[in-house]
């Protein structure tokens, strides 16, 4: 297994665990209602969310590798990294589509939705994007 492939796999697994933890905490602390009214819950979940993004950005698939300056990557690794955003794009589009369709249908009658939802949309879209980057790298290794 190539060093970058190993990092992507670890990043994906830890990212999924981290996401599951976020979801469990979100539900356990009362869901949307508490998230909206309780600042502590909002700060706690936001901190976990930012922690996950930082981990993925700097430890998962390192920025050095992305720029091609890492010592443990070669031209094939860089080619795979450059194709990974295709998977990210699909993941982001699907996540956004799911949110927009789901929320629109759910709040159709009311004509408006609670202000918290766009915040959660941002959370989940960024999480999907970071997980999809690792997934894209792993798919790239399978194909080349």
């Amino acid at each position: 297994m190539a060093p970058l492939q190993k990092r992507a796999l670890i990043s994906l697994v830890l990212g999924l665990v981290w996401t599951a933890l976020l979801v469990v905490l979100f539900i356990a602390r009362g869901g949307v209602e508490t998230f909206s009214s309780d600042a502590t819950t909002r700060i706690l979940l936001s901190a976990l969310f930012v922690g996950m993004l930082l981990f993925t950005a700097f430890l998962g698939v390192p920025w050095k590798a992305r720029s091609g300056r890492g010592v443990d990557v070669d031209e094939r690794d860089i080619a795979i990294l450059k194709r990974a955003p295709q998977v990210q794009l699909i993941a982001v589009m699907l996540t956004m589509a799911a949110w927009v369709i789901g929320l629109t249908e759910f709040y159709w009658e009311q004509g408006s939705m609670p202000i918290t939802w766009p915040y959660l949309m941002m959370f989940s879209t960024l999480i999907a994007s970071t997980l999809a980057q690792s997934l894209g790298v792993l798919i790239g290794y399978r194909r080349s």
Binding site: Q5, D74, E75, R76, R143, S144
Partner: protein, 70 residues
């Protein structure tokens, strides 16, 4: 990037050169062992630069190492 139109003789050439390991070849040409494996399996088509470096490692020309079947 599977591309079966380009075949390489890297595996054969390694064995003809004192059974050079994939690790040794990778070190000489400046890539990872996984890339050598991928090249041998015909899954990855190298850049011109890497192709020249591999050919040079065997003291051969690029055409001696890679074959285009287009």
């Amino acid at each position: 990037m599977p591309d079966n139109t380009i075949r390489s003789s890297i595996r054969k050439l390694r064995f003809e050169h004192d059974e050079m390991t994939q690790e040794e070849l990778a070190r000489r040409v400046g890539c990872t062992r996984q890339t050598i494996i991928s090249l041998e399996q015909g899954k990855y088509v190298p850049s011109l630069e890497l192709a020249f470096r591999i050919a040079r490692a065997f003291e051969l020309t690029v055409e001696d190492v890679f074959e285009y079947r287009g």
